[in-house]
Symmetry: C2
Subunit: 121 residues, 2 copies
DNA sequence: TGCGAACGTTAGCGATAACTGACGGACGGG
DNA sequence: CCCGTCCGTCAGTTATCGCTAACGTTCGCA
């Protein structure tokens, strides 16, 4: 198979994106961005079941956006900013190419203007 | 309705996130990041139907990540980097708070050390 | 050792999303 | 004026996702 679509869903950026696509997961991430919280505390902050929150935590952990630490029967979670590196890279690439485009357009415009002057002359 | 869950799916960041969660849509965005391309050209770059690509383009346009320009029967698309502003903001906030945490940890450590010194003295 | 607390896990359900195929509309050339 | 091109839109299908309820597991404490 020469030209697979390369969408094996194993890419780190892809997992992070999919995890962040869910609003509740972003809220959870914001919640543990400052403080390390237990699963129960996180769940208490929402109006869904602890089960749902636990699943969200699993997804976030799988995407590398969270770290888990055990303390007795509790599980403490904290945001893992390095997990956002891929996303940041993607974003910077997009903005960089956009700036390149802008520069290219200006360049083309300037070139056109110079040709016009040449024509006048 | 006073305290709705605020998940009306109308938030700009949410739409951009959901749009970017799809790998194919990110590929499309990368494709039109440099050059302005027609819908047909974009569709030719993938192994799915033009219909699917058209729907992806609609989603991207709805998320403010694309601009559409008509030229005869063709529709030319180009990436719109400003659509990524919300995402960038979210990302920066996350990283900033992470840095805050690091600074706070260092601070706590220093304070603890000073208390130790005080105890020695 | 027994018991309750704190979580993760599984099965099942409803909703959403991505894809295909068929159709309709707008534009331009002969 | 008709015809081919280019493209969006509309049903319909299948897969995926988020949620709930019930169950299993691990740990601390009396």
């Amino acid at each position: 198979m020469p030209s697979r679509a390369a969408a094996a869903a194993g890419e780190p950026l892809d997992e992070a994106m999919r995890a962040l696509a869910e609003p509740r997961r972003r809220a959870i991430l914001r919640l543990v961005a400052h403080d390390e919280l237990a699963a129960g505390e996180i769940a208490a902050a929402f109006e869904v079941t602890r089960t749902a929150v636990s699943q969200h935590l699993t997804v976030l952990k799988g995407a590398g956006l969270l770290t888990e630490r055990r303390d007795g029967t509790r599980r403490l979670y904290r945001a893992r900013p390095e997990g956002l590196a891929g996303l940041r890279e993607f974003l910077d690439d997009m903005w960089a190419s956009a700036l390149d485009d802008a520069r290219r357009l200006v360049e083309a415009d300037r070139a056109a203007r110079e040709r016009s002057e040449e024509e006048i002359r």
